[in-house]
């Protein structure tokens, strides 16, 4: 994997980690509920693992497709899927329904997995890995490596933001700082889809 790909994967990890909807906000809320910094930190691993699971499954599915179909078809298929999802994210407003505030670690990981999947976190990462690697072993290790880089970056960002908000800023910062990332997210997806088609 070249340096550019690593940097893009890291950047996307940071972008996902910054998004309150991807989990740090949930961790902060659980910390405030229990009046405990430990509760914030305890919530982060399941959140990050759920996110990583969603990314890894997406990459693995496309790796399987690459083993079974000609490269151009896979490229155009991925491009159409990612762009289409980006457009859908632009036009569709959803009100997610979830279990609530009392969650086990597994439920938290499940929530994170669903949020990442519903937002297309793996799809955004996908084009970076689309043109490198051949054969089962190489594709598998590439998927794992890409997921690991993305996840480490996400973990670092989301932990930093969660602690900063919990310890220093307070949740009032949300009122000003919580920009509607849905547009940025959708545009990033469309951009990723376009790059899948043309690179």
């Amino acid at each position: 994997m070249d340096l550019t790909s690593v940097l893009i994967l890291t950047g996307l990890g940071a972008f996902h980690g910054l998004n309150p909807a991807m989990g740090w906000l949930f961790a902060v809320a659980l910390g405030l509920q229990e009046h405990s910094r430990v509760a914030v930190l305890r919530a982060l691993p399941p959140i990050v693992l759920g996110h990583a699971g969603s990314v890894l499954i997406t990459l693995a599915l496309v790796s399987v497709a690459r083993l079974a179909a000609p490269p151009r078809i896979v490229s155009y298929g991925v491009a159409a899927l990612v762009c289409g999802f980006g457009v859908w994210r632009l036009v569709r407003r959803r009100h997610p329904r979830w279990v609530g505030m009392k969650v086990t670690r597994w439920q938290l990981a499940g929530w994170s997995f669903l949020m990442a999947t519903a937002h297309g976190a793996g799809l955004m990462v996908l084009p970076i890995t689309l043109h490198n690697g051949h054969g089962t072993a190489e594709l598998a290790s590439q998927s794992l490596l890409a997921t690991a880089i993305h996840t480490l970056s996400m973990l670092a960002t989301t932990t930093a933001v969660a602690m900063l908000v919990y310890e220093r800023l307070g949740v009032a910062v949300l009122r000003k700082a919580w920009f509607n990332l849905d547009y940025v997210w959708a545009v990033a997806l469309i951009g990723a889809g376009v790059s899948a088609a043309f690179t």
Binding site: P20, A21, L25, F26, V28, A29, L32, Q33, E34, H35, R93, R94, H95, P96, R97, W98, V99, G100, M101, K102, V103, W111, V171, A172, L174, R175, K176, W178, F179, N180, D182
Partner: protein, 461 residues
């Protein structure tokens, strides 16, 4: 169109909501006195001087508007279902008698709310199996509406939801209602995934007016029900005692880490008192304890309406309560005796009365300082505290057929305001009196522009 930043009227915590800008407008439901004459109305009040800016008449008569609410509120910031870039711009008004639901847009011209959608009763019946929608709360994932009964006007009553975007009824909320039959109010502890519901009576029990027979038979509601909010299952019932008839308004602590709240019962069949209970969680079990008893006040029979003559006393008939956002002051409206009381409930098990004002009342008919010579009827009824907990607005009509039983001369609608001092004492604002007599309709629920103390719920401590 979604916003770029969160709606500025959303606050992560109740404490932050206390620093919100002062309320400028109030929206008040107006009920037609005759019931089937003119339509009900939605009045807009300029709170700087109490003038009625305008009244929007509903499309048809006979709705009996009750506890309306906002489409979305601070719960949109909840981390497990975040969608804060929506707008608090629609008021959802349920018609208790008609089962019709109106959606008003207040964004473009807050002084003149615009009707943008009407959900017809048949749609509510068909999609939910319920009728008589009563209270609206903005939830994390939908708009929640309570309904007093089924389509026939009998039990069970319950909760149904409306889609946030389309306002279409989505169906019954309960997955397993257990023993719950009667229904009135509902609210939740979001931090604990718990819903609480209360009991008044079925539509067929209440629509004709209060029944002495049902009261003596202790057949009105007297229980609370505890639910798993996420699984939508009944967990537990708490019987407040069948002498305490009509368990009405639920006011959970606004801090989501807390596990207590307050409920009023309207009348005790043993001594005509009204009572306030605290519910609380202890060792995994929800319980309730009586914390306030407001006794009936003796009065000569000739000052009393027919149902009360035999008792020689006026029951307080507590119809509404309101809790300030810091969970400190509980306002209690005694519609029978014409008194608004304030209690410091910082310790929810040992309340301390901090203030009282008197206006109207069955026997007293006490005037407002703005109109000193005029005996007022009705009494403090729907009460709403401002976000900063410094001002309280209240109206004087309860429910048309019940108004007429206790105030047989017919209620002349008004709205008043009290100021809350630092020590919790109350003083009537002598310059604020909204007189609905020229309009002729009666005032009920109040909502304050941008939210108030009984509309929003919070996920952060």
């Amino acid at each position: 169109m979604p916003l770029i930043q969160p709606d500025p009227t959303f606050y992560p915590s109740a404490r932050e909501a206390m620093s919100a800008p002062r309320e400028g407008l109030a929206y008040v439901a107006l009920l037609d006195t005759a019931g089937e004459g003119r339509p009900d109305g939605l009045a807009t009040i300029d709170l700087s001087d109490g003038t009625i800016v305008g009244v929007h008449d509903m499309s048809v008569p006979g709705d009996e508007l009750h506890h309306f609410g906002w489409n979305v509120c601070s719960a949109a910031l909840c981390p497990y279902a975040p969608h804060p870039h929506v707008e608090r711009r629609y008021l959802v008004l349920p018609g208790l008698k008609s089962s019709r639901i109106y959606i008003f847009d207040v964004k473009d011209d807050p002084w003149h709310p615009k009707l943008v959608k009407t959900i017809e009763p048949e749609t509510v019946f068909k999609k939910t199996g319920y009728s008589r929608p009563h209270t609206v709360h903005c939830g994390t994932d939908a708009i929640y509406v309570s309904a007093l009964g089924n389509v026939e006007g009998d039990a069970p009553g319950g909760v149904f939801t409306l889609d946030h975007d389309t306002f279409e009824p989505k169906g019954r909320w309960e997955a397993d209602r257990g023993p719950q039959e009667l229904h009135y109010d509902f609210w939740w502890h979001l931090g604990h995934d718990t819903m609480i519901t209360s009991e008044w009576g079925t539509p067929n029990q209440i629509e004709a007016g209060p029944s002495l027979e049902l009261l003596v038979g202790r057949e009105y509601g007297h229980k609370l029900h505890v639910w798993d909010l996420s699984k939508r299952r009944h967990l537990q019932e708490i019987d407040l005692g069948d002498q305490h008839q009509m368990a009405l308004e639920l006011r959970p602590a606004h801090d989501p880490a807390k596990t207590h709240g307050f409920v009023n019962t309207v009348i005790s069949v043993e001594d005509l008192s009204a009572n306030i209970f605290t519910w609380y969680l202890e060792d995994g079990i929800w319980k309730a304890r009586k914390i306030i008893t407001i006794p009936a006040e003796p009065a000569t029979a000739d000052l009393l309406p027919e149902p009360l003559k035999q008792f020689g006393a006026v029951p307080p008939l507590v119809g509404d309560i309101s809790l300030t956002l810091d969970d400190r002051i509980l306002l209690v409206s005694c519609w029978g005796t014409g008194e608004l009381k304030a209690y410091d409930v910082s310790d929810p098990f040992s309340p301390r009365e901090t203030g009282s004002v008197r206006i109207g009342g069955i026997a007293e008919r006490r005037p407002h300082p703005a109109t000193p010579g005029r005996a007022l009827n009705g009494g403090p009824q729907m009460v709403e505290a401002s976000r900063d907990g410094r001002r309280v607005y209240f109206t004087n009509s309860l429910y048309r057929s019940w108004d007429d039983a206790f105030y047989p001369d017919g209620i002349s609608g008004w709205m008043a305001k009290v100021d809350i001092a630092d020590d919790g004492s109350l003083s009537l604002d002598p310059g604020f009196f909204v007189d609905f007599a020229p309009d002729g309709r009666r005032a009920h629920q109040i909502r304050l522009q941008g939210g108030d103390s009984s509309s929003d719920s919070y996920c952060f401590s």
